[in-house]
């Protein structure tokens, strides 16, 4: 596996990042490009993509100065735009095809761009800051190249990148899925959080606790929680080793390739991407990838003897096996934090400690680890046991007869039918649901521009040609999407089903009265 240059001939996906402030003069256009996939595409072709994108950004600003080009729909391709930072644009170009399931929801694709940028920011800070620091752009190109390629590697199926399509329509990227716990367990978790706080001994430390791939507790802001949660699912989750993962449908098809698990393989450095990187000498970023951090490099985290996860994502330490503790930027406080992860069975505890707080580097880290082990491990064991007992397995959130997605936009959380259940739906139903979501996306977008204060209230029930009911409800920042394939034909029956679901599982948020 891995992204190799040989793929690019058949590659239907293009992904570029460019800076409109660079390469202003004729002949210097190449300087705009910070990242391009596939990298071995001729420069003229790369420039052609950037040129069209830039042209349309300028063009749309004539009429819409407040929001430039968001998407170009052509007959065969969709070009999805995202202005990640002022004048720094990410553009994703996907090929459409009905035969190959290449039916996309634009906002879902844009979610990928947002996600990779947020994660990049978390580890490297903003692209602009990196460019300001080093105006030639060499370093930021190296970082972006490794980072985005590592990220895309997760979407690799066979030799092709397969982005999430309409089959993932009952799924929301950029949200956190929470574990529902009993009151008793919740109190245990609370006391664990307090205990951890006291171990770390500083108010500016943070913790995030996951059970399997579900969030149990966080002391971070919603945005930082989403970022760290996303990263944990990608690279830290014990799901890697258990093979049973509810996150896997986010990264379609990747579950099996990771069943060996993060936990076992420290010395086994040879992921597919590494190989491809090695062979990429011709790329403008050069071949010296070994002096930069690659936090998304697959299989680089492993569970140490003490229960803490260790990593060699800092390439330079690979050979002598000295592990350093990685650090991340918090979006909200713009603080840099060491990230420590402790894992016990299904429970992952992530601790964030300000760099300022640890004076003596790795030695200080060891002391913190020691503190946690001595004071909190018993509690962690206990919480894990408690949660495991209450855990109903991967179909815990299945509601018989329903296929649903529930999103709470204000809290950035979501809950959905387990992927194994969603796959029972027919393609027609899923495409219809995807279309309906697209329609709701547009409505939400319009409300955002026209009347940002208006609480959008929307209810759409469609009986599709194949007799499935496809339903969307939007109310007070919450969204509910549903597909009912075996429901009765009357509209009232379908509404009643929504009502029941709302009362039972959403505290009546979508109920009419």
């Amino acid at each position: 596996m891995g992204l190799s240059p040989a793929n690019t001939a058949t590659e239907t996906l293009k992904f570029c990042i460019f800076d409109l402030r660079r390469g202003q003069h004729e002949g210097e256009e190449l300087d705009k490009i910070l990242f391009f996939y596939p990298a071995d595409m001729p420069f003229s072709a790369q420039l052609s993509v950037i040129g069209l994108s830039e042209g349309l950004i300028t063009f749309t600003r004539i009429f819409s100065p407040e929001a430039a080009c968001e998407v170009i729909e052509a007959e065969m391709h969709s070009h999805v735009f995202y202005e990640a930072e002022p004048d720094i644009w990410m553009v994703l170009i996907v090929e459409k095809s009905k035969e190959t399931d290449a039916i996309w929801r634009i906002d879902a694709l844009r979610g990928i761009l947002k996600e990779v940028h947020s994660l990049f920011m978390m580890f490297h800070g903003s692209i602009r800051a990196l460019l300001d620091k080093e105006p030639s752009g060499g370093i930021v190109r190296k970082h972006l190249y490794s980072f985005v390629m590592d990220y895309l590697d997760d979407f690799l199926i066979g030799k092709k990148i397969q982005l999430p399509n309409f089959r993932n329509t009952l799924k929301e990227r950029g949200t956190v899925q929470m574990l529902t716990v009993s009151r008793e367990a919740a109190m245990e978790v609370q006391s664990l959080v307090r205990l951890l706080e006291s171990c770390l001994g500083s108010a500016s430390c943070h913790s995030l606790i996951l059970f399997q791939d579900l969030l149990v507790s966080t002391t971070l802001s919603p945005d930082d929680t989403v970022n760290l949660y996303t990263y944990a699912l990608l690279r830290l989750s014990p799901a890697f080793s258990s093979g049973s993962s509810t996150w896997s449908y986010l990264r379609k098809g990747k579950a099996t390739s990771h069943t060996t698990g993060a936990v076992s393989m420290l010395a086994n450095a040879g992921s597919g991407l590494d190989q491809s990187h090695g062979s990429r000498d011709s790329h403008p970023t050069g071949d010296s990838n070994h002096d930069i951090t690659r936090p998304l490099q697959p299989n680089k985290w492993a569970r140490g003897k003490d229960g803490f996860l260790v990593t060699d994502i800092r390439g330079s330490y690979v050979n002598n096996m000295v592990h350093t503790t990685p650090a991340i930027w918090l979006q909200q406080t713009e603080e840099k934090m060491y990230i420590l992860a402790y894992q016990h069975k299904s429970l992952t505890v992530i601790l964030l400690i300000p760099l300022m707080f640890i004076m003596d580097g790795e030695q200080g880290i060891s002391m913190v680890k020691q503190q946690v082990l001595e004071n909190a491990s018993a509690k962690i064991f206990k919480v894990e046991e408690k949660l495991s007992k209450g855990w109903a397995g991967e179909n815990a959130y299945h509601v018989s007869g329903y296929r649903y997605l529930l999103v709470d936009g204000d809290r950035s959380t979501s809950r959905a039918s387990p992927p194994g259940k969603v796959t029972t739906l027919t393609k027609e139903s899923l495409v219809a649901a995807s279309r309906l979501r697209e329609e709701v996306d547009l409505e939400k977008g319009r409300t955002k521009w026209d009347n940002p204060d208006l609480e959008k209230e929307l209810e759409i029930c469609i009986r599709a040609k194949n007799n499935a009911w496809v339903i969307a409800r939007v109310t007070r920042g919450k969204e509910l999407y549903m597909v009912l394939e075996k429901a009765n034909e009357t509209l009232l029956y379908a509404s009643d089903a929504v009502e029941k679901f709302s009362n039972k599982y959403c505290n009546g948020a979508f109920s009419l009265e």
């Binding site: 420039l47 749309t60 080009c69 968001e70 729909e73 759409i460 040609k465």
Partner: protein, 619 residues
Amino acid sequence: MSSDDAHSSSSEHDSTDQNPNPSTSIDQSLDAIEGQLTSISLNHRNSPLPEPPIPPPHHGIGDTLPSDAHSQVEEVGAVEKSGSDVEVENSVSRGEGVLWRNSSDVEGEVEGQGSPSSSGYAGGKGTSSSSGVSGSGIEEISGDEVDQGEGGIRSGSFGGSVDSEWVPGKRHVNEDDASVSWRKRKKHFFVLSHSGKPIYSRYGDEHRLAGFSATLQAIISFVENGGDRVKLVRAGKHQVVFLVKGPIYLVCISCTEEPHESLNEQLELLYGQMILILTKSINRCFEKNPKFDMTPLLGGTDAVFSSLIHSYSWNPATFLHAYSCLPLAYPTRQAAGAILQDVAESGVLFAILMCKHKVISLVGAQKASLHPDDMLLLANFVMSSESFRTSESFSPICLPRYNPMAFLYAYVYYLDADTYLMLLTANPDAFYRLKDWRIRIEMVLLKSNVLNEAQRSMLDGGMHVEDLPVDPSPRSGSLSSHLGQPRPPPDSADRCKALLGGPCGLWHFIYRSIYLDQYVSSEFSSPINTPKQQKRLYRAYQKLYTSMHDRELGPHKTQFRRDNNYVLLCWVTQDFELYAAFDPLADKALAIKTCNRVCQWVKDVENEVFLLGASPFSW
């Protein structure tokens, strides 16, 4: 008329008199875009440079044609003059136009005659209306104006009486892409040639938009060179929709909430309207000369296009692809149909009697069927052209869905202020025969009181939601009886009391019969009183229609939609489609019941609201 023509043909003069490099009107950002695209094209071997934004040189076909503004005016006059033998003769035999010849090739009838300068019909379309329209007063009336402050239809119902205050014609001719006001217009329509020459712009003078036009062309051809075809660009509230029809490019830039599918269909209709005036053989002009300038051929047709574009915000026929009939007692419509049938049997292709946008009766020759879109475009063409009202006309037109390559000839005559007769034939020499027929038809219509009935129906309107029978029974199948029937007693609708509008909060409905290609919509009533509310409801229906008719998945069977403004219900069966709007607080179960009652009601009065048993009508 002459003063108007001076106005409408000013574009013509611009192209010759003005500095050919309209750099003053080209915004810097346009330069930038082209720079971005061209600088890239330089690297990209196969992509030709976009056409530089130079106004069309005045040569080629234009030279050989009597396309000069004044000659156009004269020809116009000629065709319009009613009953003047010589002049009608003239209009048919004048000129040696490519276009005309093209069309006659197809028809195989007329040799080497006719006028390519679009003379005949250019006349028909009321060049007069383009004058004095740029006045500020109009701004408030027209459909999609500036971002802030929604203009709109003054009155009128869907498919009903179109607002009489709305004045067709070009707006804001003094604007161009450098004007802030121009950029803020809510809905732009552009037509340009594949070499980037402007053909039509809804706002602003075409020739001052040459640079902008070249930019649109650059975008389209840039994507084309990459082996793809650009359809839609979205930016915030704005959508840019592209439609390529051979050598003609159509673009809509809109920040209305309409689905892009609707905008695309509107471009299709705009193209159809152009074909109705010129036939598709216009393509050959571009084959011969890629830089062919089409604007002279369309000189004076601004009113036709602006009124079509205006109809996109009030006429459901534009998205339903169905036509509506004037409600009439069955015998009355029968009487009209009978006399039209006689004409059709005598070699007329279609005989159509209309009252504004609504059909009174329609008869086609055997096997000939008329597409609702063609009817829409034809009615728009006739109604937006002042000259048809004042005189008997015989004008070449093309029905794009019937045969996009060939001209037919339309004999048009207004029987009264609103009611007009159209007789379509393939025979260019049929004027006198049709005139005779018209006189006979007119006599029959007068005798059978059809025209009076039509006028009365216009005043009375059609179905009112307040009159929805509580218990529709098959016996009560008469619209007039419903119209006269007292409202249901108040206690019968206890549960709906609190709601506005008709029974159970019903505000409005549209019923489309699939077999008949016809629709009927209720009259607007409280609370859909203001033009703004009517337009909003129209747009909601448009969205609902698009959602139901998904290109790949559709049509869906049922849809219920509730938002802050309405409850909307749509029901699609093999026989009909029903669209209904209710108070947003309406009860779902009662709304469904009400929809069933509406369907029954329409079936009860279908004799009066639809044209039944029209000649073979199949697609």
